[in-house]
């Protein structure tokens, strides 16, 4: 008698009915997005492409796209590509790029230390990193306006350390003050997402690098740094998006110097101080479009990296 083993019948698993239960978890988020993003953006568009009440000078939004008037948008684009607003845009991009560089230089070592080297102090350091969020951004900027006064603590300390002979007027409208203000304000937003990426890097990969003869620096450059790129990207996006719309950092740290005017200042001026809200709304849309390009690039890179990781 020969015993034969037969393969189990190839019965296809019964497809499980798709549960709508988990899909419903997305509903609050979708509702939120519709209410506070889609509708809001459409309202901004309706204002940008609408008119102004001739008496009260308030915005008269054009809800019907057939009635949209692109005059304000055309004017804004003309001024960006060859006019005064172009200067402000380029200056804003420059400030944000320099501030991002500052965030990387300061934030990366901090995030790396907390994630990989802090060991038992990690919890304490994380609390310290979150601490700035307990105080409003505005209050922190106001504090700096006091610290940076000619007779403020910054000059006192620099003088005490003999790092400068004469007290400097830090608030005289210089770009460097605005850039450092942005770095100071946003670096916690940079560190936290980067920390979470660095913390998740498998330590065995770094050990393997060292075992294979790479120096500490080589291991960092060839293993840690590439693996932290997703975190760097996320941290950069989270940081630069609000920076582009920031205007109070400049307002407070330069007392309104035209030399450091950012695009957010122009938006504020048009929406709050003029009879041309449609111009302010058009500027908002242009800035959103610009940021959308940056965001799309981030998404493309992230998706590519995910696919590579899955292979």
């Amino acid at each position: 008698m020969t015993a034969t083993l037969s393969a189990p019948p190839a019965v296809a698993p019964k497809p499980r009915p798709k549960s709508r239960f988990w899909a419903m978890f997305a509903l609050p988020g979708v509702g939120w997005l519709v209410a506070f993003f889609v509708v809001s953006v459409y309202a901004v568009m309706a204002v940008a492409f609408g008119t102004v009440d001739p008496v009260l000078r308030t915005a008269v939004p054009a809800w019907n796209p057939m009635q949209w008037d692109f005059t304000a948008m055309r004017s804004v684009l003309d001024r960006i590509f060859g006019g005064d607003l172009g200067t402000v845009f380029i200056r804003t991009v420059g400030f944000v790029a320099a501030s991002l560089a500052g965030c990387i230089l300061i934030g990366y070592p901090v995030a790396y230390f907390v994630a990989r080297k802090a060991s038992k102090y990690r919890g304490l350091l994380l609390i310290l990193l979150v601490l700035p969020f307990w105080i409003s951004y505005l209050m922190r900027m106001l504090a700096w306006t006091n610290l940076l006064q000619v007779d403020g603590m910054v000059n006192d300390i620099l003088g005490f350390l003999h790092l400068q002979n004469e007290p400097r007027n830090w608030l005289d409208g210089s770009a460097s003050t605005v850039i450092w203000g942005l770095v100071y304000g946003y670096v916690p937003f940079f560190i936290l997402p980067l920390y979470s990426t660095l913390e998740r890097i498998d330590g065995r990969l770094i050990e393997a690098g060292r075992d294979l003869g790479a120096s500490a620096a080589q291991t960092f450059v060839r293993v840690t740094l590439p693996l932290s790129v997703p975190g760097l990207m996320a941290a950069s996006v989270i940081t630069i998006l609000p920076m582009f719309g920031d205007y109070y950092t400049n307002t407070y740290l330069t007392s309104g110097s035209p030399k450091t005017e950012m695009i957010g200042n122009q938006i504020e001026n048009y929406l709050l101080g003029t009879s041309q809200p449609q111009t302010g709304a058009a500027l908002v849309l242009v800035l959103m479009a610009f940021l959308f390009v940056l965001m799309a690039y981030y998404l493309v890179v992230t998706i590519r990296q995910q696919r590579m990781a899955e292979r």
Binding site: V52, D53, L56, V88, G245, Y248, G256, Q266, L271
Partner: protein, 390 residues
């Protein structure tokens, strides 16, 4: 300590992020089309005041809380104050009915004609305003509201130069006038102009002898813009309304300011041990002096119009106005509170006498008047170019 609405404007700029999008949205929700032709009726004589609460719409810190408390006690009502940060925001919220208010506390003169045309404020019944004769004679029939039919003046101030008298010779400021700002190359980064397109551009015009402060001539505006832009490289000019604290604190040496800013500077912002003599204020001679005032009005379709009238009358009482002045630092537009009185009472030091406009200053004053949509657009475009630093 005297604080001011200018202080609040500077402190509350953070809310602009919200309001910047929120204001047009509020208007959008209102769904109004053109607002012209809406007129409201005046209330009848001899009505009993409503039970309240009286809802006041005002800049923050622009009325003395003690004065409000006294009103509540006197009339047995509750007063609720809602604040705004700019004229634009206030008009938009009132017009779209995003806010229910009884008293619009601080209307700019240049917007009153539009508020009347849009039905945002209602005609006043003068029988309730028994203190109206206390108002400065020249403002009882103001250019922006004939016969004060819709408004009563609240406070007034002039535009001049606030400066540090310990750093720059007052005689030199007197001699140079508006040129003081352009000559201040020794004070780079310590010079500022008002964050107000018309005020700043008009200053540049007056420096060149152009005293039609309501011109819409593009050439004159362009020239003023070019002159103002010179200040960016010459003195690294700042654009703000912070003279009231920056001058006493010493971070600003020369600033185009409102006269009330220096009164505020004296009352609340001089560092301990610093004498009031460090403060100086210059303004152009009568006939070339730009004077402005804020006004109070009753909101068009408000719930408590009688109580609102009583409040306006209360604020025109001499003693109440003086008490209010001791807090806000802006001069009430009442005859009794002249320079001799406020200096004698110690509210203003003698060296800042110029901060209180004289009768002649007011009678010959230049006033900013409404320019229409196109006229305003010219100034706004020039201002945007100036502040862009391009």
């Amino acid at each position: 300590m005297i604080s001011s609405r200018r202080d609040f404007l500077a402190r509350s700029v953070q809310f602009g992020a919200l309001l910047g999008v929120g204001i047009p949205l509020l208007q959008a929700c209102g769904g109004s089309d053109s607002s012209s032709g809406k007129k409201t009726q005046t209330i009848a004589d001899g009505l009993q005041p409503e039970k309240g609460p009286l809802r006041i719409f005002n800049y923050d810190s622009y009325v003395n809380p003690d004065v409000i408390a006294d009103f509540e006690a006197q009339y047995g009502v509750k007063v609720e104050i809602t604040t705004f940060t700019t004229d634009t925001e206030a008009v938009t919220k009132l017009a779209s009915k995003a806010i229910q208010a009884d008293v619009y506390h601080s209307m700019a003169s240049t917007t009153i004609d539009r508020l009347i045309a849009g039905g945002v404020i209602q005609p006043l019944n003068k029988t309730y305003l028994t203190n109206f004769p206390n108002v400065l004679e020249s403002l009882q029939d103001p250019w922006y509201d004939k016969g004060s039919a819709y408004s009563v003046p609240y406070v007034y101030f002039g535009t001049g130069i606030g400066y540090r008298a310990d750093r720059i010779d007052p005689a030199q400021v007197e001699k140079d006038g508006w040129n003081t700002l352009w000559n201040a190359t020794d004070f780079k980064g310590q010079v500022s102009v008002l964050d107000d397109e018309r005020e700043a551009l008009i200053m540049a015009m007056m420096r060149k002898g152009q005293f039609d402060v309501n011109t819409t001539d593009q050439k004159i505006i362009d020239q003023a813009l070019a002159d103002l832009t010179e200040l960016i490289d010459l003195v690294n000019v700042k654009v703000n309304i912070d003279g009231y604290k920056n001058i006493p604190e010493g971070t600003t040496t020369i600033a185009q300011t409102w006269s009330a800013d220096l009164i505020n500077a004296y009352a609340g912002y001089l560092p301990e041990g610093t004498d009031a003599s460090v403060l100086g204020f210059w303004h152009p001679p009568a006939g070339e002096y730009l004077v402005s005032n804020d006004s109070m009005g009753v909101v068009g379709d408000c719930e408590h119009p009688v109580l609102a009238h009583l409040y306006l009358n209360y604020m025109l009482d001499n003693a109440v106005a003086e008490k209010n002045f001791s807090y806000v630092g802006y001069l009430p537009a009442l005859t009794v509170l002249d320079a001799d009185y406020v200096i004698g009472k110690g509210y203003v030091p003698e060296n800042l006498r110029a901060c209180v406009p004289t009768k002649e200053d007011i009678s010959k004053a230049l006033f900013e008047k409404p320019l229409g949509v196109d006229g305003d657009a010219k100034y706004e475009a020039a201002w945007s170019k100036f502040t862009s630093g391009a």
